[in-house]
């Protein structure tokens, strides 16, 4: 049995114009006891509402959320064995770091000695040993983040909810924290539900990613599944950079399908169940293409230097949308206006289930 | 600093005076018929400004503290004496004016200025008891007045004035309202304290509450009659034990910037028709004998307002009591603090 079961969760809000808008439009989701699950989607997709429904700050209009098979809906937030790391950290500015971290134990009535032990331990886990006497205002953004984390795990929750906790940090710190969070989750052996709109964060840390849009789940899968095999155009475009080709299947040949765009660009795809005359949308990531001696004839319209890599915008000779290509930078790298040929491995291409 | 301020103020006043003749009155609130001022300005072209105060001491404190720019003040007789002693008043020789013959000699009450060479009697009146006869039945004495709450359930109020309240206690004990004897003041204090529980409030706001029927009887100035023209059930009486009377005089300040205009105003007020105009609106008494013939019949013939000679013998007027004021202050604090 899953640790957390979400069944047909619905939550509606009234818009200022008086209309109704479903922030959660029937969500079904199971989360395992040791899983790191990321809720990913653009703002307004319902991911934060879902998180707040689990922590108890939103009440569902329909459906249920079960923890260990028990319905949470009647429990107020302070009775749920779930803790949250807030986006703004929400540290208590009038308390020391140690009192912030020990807050869950303080309100539970634990004695001072055991509290102090637990606080020291929690601070050590997040690398803030000896910082207990400081005030939150005396800490850097990254340190505050760690205090919020220590405060949320000290009560040994079954499930830790993280609401875009890294969004306020700079890029380097964010990448470091991503690794630390994953490590911490392994050490604690509890489930993490992480909300973000940053696909890179999602890909780095998650066991599974839940892509949401407009109150619905678009796709659930491992980072690789989501990246390589997006179910639809929304997921494909939301996760990483993508080239999408709208095609008509021309013919099937030895397990491969030859397909053509309106402009006449020809592509080879895995045949799957497609038949000649079918419409299909194919996904090819920029890194799937290589510059070669032959293949799709095209002209480089723009080259963006990215350090080790070069990002090329390439116009196929037959016309149609530009193709984005990632190439290794070198002395021989093409410049704008260079005529090139693009090659790719047909096995790397992926056909969307739904356009 | 202060001298400079005065100099600047005087310079400004002088400048203004050249441009336009002015007169600055400093009077009790609602204590002059505005029509008099309009008429005075219409006749002389002198522009009149009016500031108000609510007690003699407030006026004295302001003048002592250096308030300048006022020409005329309206102190009660005992304050007139104090201000004379302090050298705050200007000699006007108003008693040499031809119309001064209109003034009743009985109203020349100042001890320091018995011939009125400084100030001119302005108005006088009594401080008695208003009562709503429908609630209280007829009242004739202070004893009746203080018994109202217990007998009828009606409320009574006294004036929020130290000397007026203590005067009731002194009168009730047959003592002078100007007594400086601590034993007398103790008697007066005890008398008021004995009745404090019956008193709803010490207040100047009692007339509106009389009109609405919320108060059955109130210690107030005779001028209160103006509110009850349409309410015959509200009566006014001078208690049989005695009561106080008051008189204010028109005085010119030694610091007055427009002394000539001030004298013009005093002479204007000596005219019987002007003094009568004030009575018609103020419902009090005038020192102008000719004016007494000109006042409206409903005031002239109202025994509540126009008191006869018999009643006059029961009326007492405040005098300056010098350092004994401290005894009254302490008695008043005791009265107001007692539960």
């Amino acid at each position: 049995m899953a640790l957390l079961e979400i069944r047909k969760a619905r939550r509606e809000f009234v818009t200022p114009e008086g209309g109704r808008f479903a922030a959660l439009d029937g969500i079904d989701l199971d989360i395992g006891a040791h899983e790191f699950v990321t809720l990913l989607g653009p703002s307004g997709c319902g991911k934060t509402t879902l998180l707040r429904s689990i922590s108890g700050f939103e009440t569902l209009d329909g459906g249920a959320i079960l923890l260990d098979g028990a319905d949470l809906s009647t429990l107020p937030p302070f009775r749920r064995p779930v803790n949250t790391v807030f986006q703004s950290y929400a540290l208590f500015s009038h308390m020391s770091v140690a009192r912030n971290v020990g807050y869950a134990l303080e309100v539970r009535g634990e004695d001072r000695a055991s509290r102090e032990r637990a606080v020291a331990e929690a601070l050590e886990k997040v690398g803030l040993t000896g910082m207990g006497t400081r005030k939150p205002s005396q800490l850097s953004g990254g340190q505050r983040q760690r205090v919020a984390l220590a405060r949320a795990i000290i009560g040994k929750p079954r499930l830790l909810l993280l609401d875009e906790p890294l969004s306020a940090l700079d890029r380097n710190l964010r990448q470091q924290m991503q690794i630390e969070l994953k490590t911490l989750q392994n050490t604690l052996g509890i489930a993490f539900i992480f909300v973000t709109h940053d696909q890179e964060e999602a890909l780095t840390m998650s066991d599974r990613i839940v892509v949401m849009r407009a109150g619905l789940i678009e796709q659930i899968g491992t980072p690789r599944q989501i990246y390589r095999h997006p179910k639809n155009r929304f997921v494909a475009e939301f996760i990483g950079e993508t080239n999408l080709f709208a095609l008509t299947i021309d013919r099937i040949e030895s397990g491969q399908a030859l397909a053509r765009t309106v402009e006449g660009l020809e592509l080879l795809l895995p045949a799957g169940t497609a038949k000649a005359g079918d419409k299909a949308v194919a996904v090819l990531r920029p890194a799937d293409f290589t510059l070669a001696d032959q293949g799709i004839a095209a002209t480089v319209t723009k080259a963006v230097y990215l350090g080790a890599d070069l990002h090329l915008f390439v116009q196929p000779a037959v016309g149609g949308p530009e193709i984005r290509v990632t190439a290794r930078d070198s002395a021989l790298a093409p410049k704008e206006g260079t005529k090139v040929h693009l090659a790719y491995d047909p096995a790397a291409s992926h056909v969307l289930e739904a356009a | 600093m202060k001298a400079l301020g005065v100099a600047v103020a005087l310079a400004l006043m002088a400048g203004a005076a050249q441009a336009e003749e002015t007169l600055a009155l400093y009077n009790w609130g609602d204590y002059i018929n505005p029509e008099i001022l309009t008429k005075f300005t219409a006749e002389t072209g002198i522009k009149v400004t009016l500031d108000t105060y609510s007690s003699n001491e407030e006026m004295l404190a302001k003048i002592q503290a250096g308030a300048t720019g006022y020409d005329i003040v309206f102190p009660s007789v005992h304050m007139n004496d104090i201000m004379l002693k302090l050298g705050l008043l200007e000699k006007t020789d108003i008693n040499l004016s031809p119309d001064f013959k209109n003034i009743d000699p009985a109203n020349l009450r100042s001890k320091e200025d018995p011939t009125s060479s400084y100030c001119l009697p302005y108005a006088w009146g009594t401080v008695g008891v208003f009562y709503n006869e429908k609630i209280t039945g007829p009242l004739t004495s202070w004893a009746d007045f203080f018994a109202v709450p217990e007998k009828t359930g009606g409320k009574i109020t006294l004036l929020d004035d130290m000397r007026e309240v203590l005067a009731i206690g002194l009168i009730a004990n047959g003592k002078s309202v100007n007594s400086a004897d601590p034993a007398d003041i103790k008697l007066a204090t005890d008398y008021i304290l004995a009745h404090k529980a019956s008193v709803s409030a010490f207040s100047y706001d009692s007339m509106a509450m009389m009109t609405s029927g919320d108060i059955a009887a109130a210690h107030f100035f005779v001028g209160g009659n103006v509110f009850f023209i349409q309410m015959p059930e509200i009566k006014y009486m001078i208690p049989s034990e005695g009561a106080t009377m008051y008189q204010e005089n028109i005085c010119v300040l030694a610091s007055a910037p427009d002394k000539e205009n001030a004298k013009k105003f005093m002479e204007f007020y000596l005219r019987p028709e002007i003094a009568a105009l004030n009575v018609a609106q103020q419902y009090n008494g005038t020192a102008n004998v000719q004016a007494r013939e000109l006042i409206p019949a409903e005031i002239k013939n109202n025994p509540n307002i126009t008191v006869g000679p018999e009643t006059l013998t029961r009326l007492h007027i405040f005098e300056d009591i010098g350092a004994a004021l401290k005894l009254y202050d302490r008695a008043w604090n005791t009265i107001r603090t007692a539960q």
Binding site: H94, M95 | E58, M162, F202, S203, D214
Partner: protein, 295 residues
């Protein structure tokens, strides 16, 4: 060179303020302090001779000949402080929940409410107190309505009681309590409340451990702003209390405006000032202690 120039600019900018405070604030204060040690003039004003009995009358070293010691003055002060403290407490109890309610209103309604609460400032205090007189008197609106709906059969005796004084004081002071309190409540990060409940604190624990300390600066600010004028208020006790319970403000007023004893009035004022200053310093210290945790 640059530093000297800066100093010069700063001095130039601060001069008008310093002069203003010096002339209109410090100077009157010094005059009152000086007067409180001078001999009262027979007809008001002062005589320029040292006189310590103004304080002796109050604190108990008067000689019983020239001046008489009476404990009444300290009793009046204590009574005034008590009324002021009660006013603060009632204003706080009244405003605190309302501040939370208002801070949750939609923007438009919130603006309307804040405008309404400042509305009394647009009319004179005396006029507003007389309006209360009309409401509270036996034949007033309150009693008419209560009798009309059958809640009572006899008019309530509120006017000219201590209850009316407290009611009037609370009415006058509520806006002064509400505004700083509202500001503190509105600035309170709602995420802190959620964080506290998320960590297992009940609503009461959250209130005591998070909401109260976080809004404490607003509470203290409001309390001080309400307390200080409440101690010296003499208009409300006069109009609504029927002048029957003497407050320290009445006593001071009376010394200047009817007893003609400026030095004694000054001495009383100095004592009131000292008490208020002590309260102010005490609450600043309290705020600093809490604020130290806030910093």
């Amino acid at each position: 060179m640059a530093i000297r120039r800066q100093t010069l600019v700063l001095a130039t900018l601060l001069t008008p303020v310093t002069l203003f405070l010096g002339v209109f604030f410090l100077l009157p204060l010094l005059i009152i302090a000086l007067f409180s040690f001078l001999t009262p003039g027979l007809y008001g004003g002062v005589e320029w001779a040292f006189y310590h009995w103004n304080y002796g009358r109050i604190f108990g070293w008067a000689d019983d000949i020239i001046e008489v010691y009476e404990p009444i003055y300290l009793q009046i002060l204590a009574r005034s402080l008590g009324f002021a403290a009660l006013t603060v407490l009632l204003c706080l109890l009244l405003c605190y929940p309302v501040a939370f309610w208002v801070s949750r209103l939609p923007n438009r309604w919130r603006m309307l409410f804040l405008f309404l609460i400042t509305l009394p400032f647009f009319s004179s205090l005396i006029v507003r107190l007389y309006a209360w007189l009309l409401i509270l008197k036996p034949s007033g609106i309150l009693n008419t309505v209560l009798i009309g709906v059958g809640a009572i059969s006899e008019p309530l005796e509120i006017l000219y009681t201590p209850a009316a004084v407290v009611l009037g004081m609370v009415y006058v002071m509520v806006p002064f309590m509400f505004l700083p309190l509202y500001s503190a409540v509105d600035n309170l990060d709602r995420a802190l409340i959620e964080a506290s409940m998320d960590l297992g604190a009940t609503r009461l624990q959250t209130f005591l451990k998070v909401v109260l300390p976080q809004t404490l600066p607003g509470i203290l600010g409001g309390a001080v702003i309400v307390f200080i004028p409440s101690v010296g208020n003499f208009i409300v006790p006069d109009v609504l209390g029927g002048a029957k319970g003497l407050m320290i403000g009445n006593l001071v007023e009376q010394q200047f405006l009817s007893a003609r004893n400026w030095p004694f009035g000054s001495a009383l004022s100095m004592i009131v000032m000292a008490v208020v200053l002590a309260v102010l310093l005490g609450s600043t210290a309290a705020a600093k202690r809490k604020g130290g945790q806030n910093a």
